[in-house]
Amino acid sequence: MSALRIDCVMSPDFSKSHFALFGLPVGFDLDVAALEQTYRDLQREVHPDRFANAPDAEKRIAAQWAMQVNEAYRTLKSPLARGRYLLTLNGIDTEEESNTAMPVAFLIQQMDWREAVVAARNAHDDRALEQLAKDKRSEERVLFDRLAAQLSNVATMREARDTVRKLRFLEKLGEEIDLASEAMES
């Protein structure tokens, strides 16, 4: 651990939304190419490598900016993180930690999938895992379409919470599929 200090340095003003930082309109639909290009343009200005010779004050500010740009890019790039962030901007808590009430049919589907992952892992069945990943992706596509529709309208925005929570389940399922693949390789 290189350093530990109490934070007393004035921080740059990061009250702007991630969308504003990237000069993008607020919304779920996003021009990914523009996002990536702006990310590179911004990092060209603020990355610490551009300040290797600068006074410490500038180095510190550059590092804070670069961290903020990275955080904003990470959030906007991932559709799930972007959806969650849009809800936060609208003052809606996704309750992913607290609310565990999910439709029974959805939960049963999740359990079936997870059992299938474990079975595929134990049987060293590559094809079954691949099929599961495919099923997961097509389910995700359906949910992301729904999320986009819900987030585009203030009246339906609260309903997007459930979709975000469902997508979080699928994200976790994806992680388990990856872990199973890893385990089978080694």
Binding site: A3, D7, P12, R44, H47, N53, A63, S181, E182
Partner: protein, 624 residues
């Protein structure tokens, strides 16, 4: 203009003066220094006229130290005091080094990192690496005829925080100003990217003497974006030598060979391994103790067969890196081969077989990392505008904290682009609790005991409240060197929480200063002169930077701010002409503080500029 009149006569600023900066590949087996001369990166020769300096250090009872080819040739004579492959011990504990099998060293357990008992006393891997780096610095300063402004030191991408911190400490101990720790695969990609002006997604396969890295990078108009990295920091060419030596020992009934014989066998194994890249069969004669001579031979087929498991071990990290980058084998444009161990034919065949793509190996795999580091050092030193190149690297291993039941909660996942910061709020568990303890770990496993401990620290002085009322915000940061730091803030009452940290390893700035001082015991005046010269250079650089900024962005300064900055510049100028290094440092600090608001405004302006540039492009697109 008025600003320029501040400079003393004869101290005129020379903004285009070439600043001496080097890239250093501190390798397990060999180390190299490279620099950019007249726009071209080249490896510097050492005193013996060689490009590669073996990373071997010998310690003598009288305190003498030799580094390089000579101790390498002598390693069988005095194995306990000739340290080879020290990179494998950087930031590692007893349990780690035990995994390397039979080694001729007497390891001593020390907090965070082992130490080695030598005739010259206890040496930590940081000390040994510093001895190698010192020789490289002197070599570079002689070749370039001047003191270095700074150096970029390369590290395996898969190095964790302990290993990175140890490397940086070693460089500072060697009297080097570390401009950046750069990941070796990224350095290699720079050397290739600039040569071939490539665009696309590349895999860099880097099998060195003691470490293995795989990085997946996307190249877009001069931006090198690392998508993922993986590896094995305990797998390298050395393991192939060990496998051959172990085979011979079994074959010739030498299970209990002494350290000298073991060393000779390993040296022969390395030679035979190298021969087998061009010959089908190779043999060697090993002079053992007590006048015995051992004739050994090995065929390529036997060699490939007995080390197939080691080659296989590289493929699992490759698959993980692809998966983390969310890419398939077909998405890879080409594979850059780095590290001397990629000369082995079965390694090449395996990589080629896996990717089904041509291997890029037209730059010498031993030199490509140092060359890339030199290019980056040249930019960071300010010799070349960085406009055309930018590196966006990642943290190789997740960062987390210990939670209930010895479980890890991940805060910064692996392959996050650095620099990165994540904040987490903690609260108290009991009524009236005034302190909380935090344990920071690095690794991918779920249990704390399977991850590497980075630091344990406690926050004290929390005002007594009911359980759950306190809000302590802890921010974990990873800087552009991949080094971790923690910032703690108590939010509820304005009472600043006191932080006690027990880093698991690493040196404080004060310790480094003391050790640096001690290393100059034979030339005390020299040390003081060097410190003063460095402080003066730093002062000059800061004044130039501030003046340049004021010239460009005069409109961002109020009259008061401007007057304050000018006053601090003048103060620093006065201190600079006196001979007190610590007074100069204090004045540097003051000027730096005075420019903080100005710096923040300049950054806002840069960011706005980046966005405006983009909207102009868009307007151009929409236009007729």
């Amino acid at each position: 203009m008025a600003l320029l009149q501040i400079a003393e006569p004869g101290e005129s600023t020379a903004p285009h003066e070439h600043r001496l900066a080097v890239g250093i590949d501190l390798g397990t087996t060999n180390s190299l220094v490279a620099t950019v001369k007249s726009g071209t990166a080249e490896v510097l020769l050492n005193q013996e006229g060689n490009k590669l300096t073996p990373s071997v250090v010998r310690y003598f009872a009288d305190g003498g130290v030799t580094v390089g080819r000579q101790p390498k040739a002598e390693q069988a004579d005095d194995p306990a005091n000739i340290i080879v492959s020290v990179k494998r011990f950087m930031g590692r504990g007893m349990a780690d080094v035990a995994r390397y099998g039979a080694l001729p060293y007497k390891f001593i357990d020390a907090p965070g990192m082992v130490k080695i008992e030598t005739v010259a006393g206890l040496k930590s891997p940081v000390d040994v690496s510093a001895d190698i780096l010192r020789v490289l610095r002197v070599q570079a300063e002689a070749a370039l005829a001047g003191p270095l402004v700074g150096a970029v030191i390369t590290v395996p991408a898969y190095f964790d925080d302990a290993q990175r911190q140890a490397t940086k400490d070693a460089a500072r101990l060697a009297g080097l100003n570390v401009l950046r720790l750069l990941n070796e695969p990224t350095a290699a990609a720079i050397a290739y990217g600039l040569d071939n002006a490539s665009e696309g997604t590349f895999a860099v396969f880097d099998l060195g003497g003691g470490t293995f890295d795989i990085s997946i990078l996307k190249l877009t108009r001069g931006v090198f974006e690392v998508l993922s990295t993986n590896g094995d920091s305990a797998l390298g060419g050395d393991d192939f030598d060990q496998a051959i030596a172990a085979h011979w020992r079994r074959l010739h009934g030498l299970a209990s060979a002494n350290h000298k014989d073991l060393r000779r066998m390993l040296m022969a194994a390395r030679a035979v391994k190298e021969d087998l890249t061009t010959a089908d069969d190779a043999s060697a004669e090993i002079d053992l103790s007590y006048g015995q001579t051992l004739n050994v031979k090995l065929s390529r087929a036997e060699f490939h067969n007995m080390t197939a498991h080691l080659v296989e071990r590289t493929l699992s990290p490759v698959k993980k890196a692809l998966r983390d980058a969310k890419l398939a084998v077909d998405d890879i444009t080409g594979i850059v081969m780095v590290g001397g161990a990629t000369r082995m034919l079965h390694v090449q065949a395996a990589v080629n077989g896996f990717f089904g793509k041509p291997l890029l190996n037209n730059v010498d795999p031993d030199k490509v990392v140092a060359l890339g580091a030199a290019i980056q050092a040249n930019i960071l030193a300010g010799n070349k505008s960085g406009d055309d190149m930018l590196l966006l690297d990642v943290i190789p291993l997740s960062l987390g904290i210990e939670t209930m039941g010895g479980l890890v909660e991940k805060l910064v996942p692996r392959n996050s682009t650095i620099p990165v910061a994540r904040a987490q709020e903690f609260t108290t568990f009991k009524d009236g609790q005034t302190a909380i303890a935090l344990h920071v770990v690095q690794g991918e496993r779920e249990l704390v005991k399977d991850c590497r401990s980075l630091a344990q620290f406690s926050l004290r002085g929390i005002p007594p409240m009911v359980a759950g009322a306190a809000r302590i915000r802890v921010t974990f940061q990873v800087d552009a060197d991949g080094l971790v730091s923690v910032v703690a803030q108590e939010l509820t009452s304005g009472v600043v929480a006191q932080v006690d940290v027990k880093p698991s390893y690493g040196l404080t700035d004060a310790e480094i200063a003391t050790m640096l001082q001690a290393s100059f015991t034979y030339a005390k005046d020299d040390a003081a002169a060097r410190v003063l010269a460095e402080a003066r250079t730093d002062a000059q650089r800061l004044i130039e930077a501030v003046q340049a900024a004021m010239a460009v962005d005069a409109d961002l300064l109020s009259a008061t701010e401007r007057a304050l900055i000018l006053q601090e510049i003048e103060r620093l100028h006065r201190r600079q002409s006196e001979g007190d290094a610590s007074a100069i440092k204090a004045a540097i600090e003051k000027l730096s503080t005075a420019t903080e608001t100005f710096a923040a405004k300049r950054m806002d302006k840069s960011v706005a500029k980046a966005l405006t540039g983009k909207s102009l492009d868009e307007i151009a697109k929409i236009g007729p």
